[in-house]
């Protein structure tokens, strides 16, 4: 089966910023992403767990598959939101099965 080259970007970000991130992505014309729940984690700002939270706190993971040439646009858009906040952004080389899909 033909596999089309792509980049897989994974953004772990605070839940209250989710709406802002997807909006920034949409404005940058990145309309393909998947949002996964996160149970807990640890980073520079210490350890946390969803069970120790009330309300809309906690984090989510946003996964974007994107054409390699559009990676920079995506990262710039994401960065404006993530910048001041805790969270990580990672990129992996990937392939996608149905190219018309993204």
């Amino acid at each position: 089966m033909e596999i089309h080259p792509a980049k897989r970007v994974e953004i772990v970000i605070e839940a209250p910023l989710e709406r802002r991130l997807t909006q920034a992505l949409t404005e940058a014309d990145v309309t393909g992403y998947t949002i996964l729940p996160v149970l807990g984690g640890s980073g520079r700002s210490g350890r946390w767990s969803r069970e120790g939270q009330i309300g809309q706190s906690g984090m989510v993971a946003v996964i974007c598959l994107i054409r390699p040439e559009r990676l920079d646009t995506l990262l710039k858009a994401a960065f404006t939101v993530v910048e001041d906040h805790i969270g990580v952004v990672s990129v992996t080389d990937a392939g996608v099965l149905r190219a018309e899909r993204f």
Partner: protein, 327 residues
């Protein structure tokens, strides 16, 4: 004095407070006891709906007069004003930077609905219910404090926040708990006693029991926070988290007397003034003041002030009001 002590003890030994203590203990002892997030959220939705509805039905039954408007006005003023007092206290009592002081201040201007619910519950069992519309006052006090905090940061040449991001104000005002509380209040107001009769077996009968389990969860969360915060917080900050509710309650007492609330209503307004937010404000702070450290404001609000109000604060406020009003 003895009366306060007895009341405090009676309050301490209620299932509600003991459930909170159980959660606190379990978290401190690192038990794996936990209440699923969805269940905790479901309980908080239940509590907000029930308290809002009962408040609205109460207003429908006994009517509302200008006191309602005065009380809401007083609440808004408290919410706007208390952050400034809190900010000043923090400047003298702690070495926190401007952003963190503002973030903490926002929490103490806003309110804790669970503390309010617990006070309602205590007042009811003492036969001293407050005005139904106090729920609306609670809702009105959630948001203004956030604006004061943002202004406090902005004044310090914007070193911390980016000011008022577009959309944030709307987001704060349409916060789920405010919408639910106000919405349920209106439903109670519209359907009145008949509506209350229809759903009373749901919103009144199991209320205290649900509150027990909810406070168990609050205890777990507060305990986990405290365990993590060991060392982070110094004496000054902890002292603030006990002094500030007293200051807030005293301010609210004066306003409550001025606008002529009932004794129960004054206790509720004092509780609102004394309590600190741990739901709406923290979420807003993550967006508006991301540099502020959540472990500071959450620990003070949820780990110190919340248990203080629950165990000592509410009985104290009640005793003071009974003393003053000769109740």
């Amino acid at each position: 004095m003895n009366a306060i002590f007895d009341l405090a003890l009676g309050n301490l030994l209620s299932p509600i407070i003991l459930s909170f203590a159980l959660g606190l203990f379990a978290a401190m002892a690192r038990s794996d006891l936990s209440i699923p997030e969805a269940v905790a959220k479901g309980m908080s939705i239940y509590l907000l709906f029930a308290i809002g509805f009962k408040g609205g039905a109460g207003v429908a039954a006994y009517g509302a007069d200008t006191t309602l408007l005065l009380a809401i006005g007083a609440g808004v003023i408290l919410s706007f004003g208390l952050p400034f007092i809190a900010f000043a206290l923090l400047s003298t009592m702690t070495a926190l930077d401007r952003t963190n002081r503002a973030a903490v201040a926002a929490h103490y201007g806003s309110i804790s609905i669970v503390t309010f619910v617990a006070a309602t519950s205590v007042l009811e069992s003492r036969g001293l219910p407050g005005e139904g519309f106090m729920v609306a006052v609670a809702a009105a006090m959630e948001a203004p404090a956030i604006l004061s905090a943002l202004w406090l940061v902005a004044r310090g040449n914007g070193s911390g926040g980016k000011g008022m991001e577009p959309g944030l104000l709307r987001e704060i005002m349409l916060n789920g708990s405010i919408v639910l509380l106000v919405g349920a209040f209106l439903i109670g107001l519209i359907t009145g006693e008949q509506g209350l009769a229809e759903i009373a077996p749901f919103i009144e009968t199991p209320f205290k029991g649900v509150l027990c389990l909810f406070l168990l969860d609050m205890g777990l969360i507060a305990g986990r926070g405290l365990r993590r915060a060991r060392g982070v917080l110094n004496t000054g900050a902890v002292a603030f988290a006990i002094v500030m509710p007293l200051v807030g309650a005293a301010t609210a007492l004066v306003m409550g007397l001025m606008i002529g609330l009932s004794p129960g209503g004054i206790v509720l307004l004092m509780t609102l003034g004394a309590s600190a937010s741990y739901i709406a404000v923290p979420a807003a702070m993550r967006v508006a003041l991301p540099q502020a450290d959540p472990s500071i404001y959450l620990t003070l609000s949820l780990g110190v002030t919340f248990p203080f109000n629950l165990t000592l604060g509410i009985p104290l406020y009640l005793a003071i009001v009974q003393f003053i009003t000769g109740g």
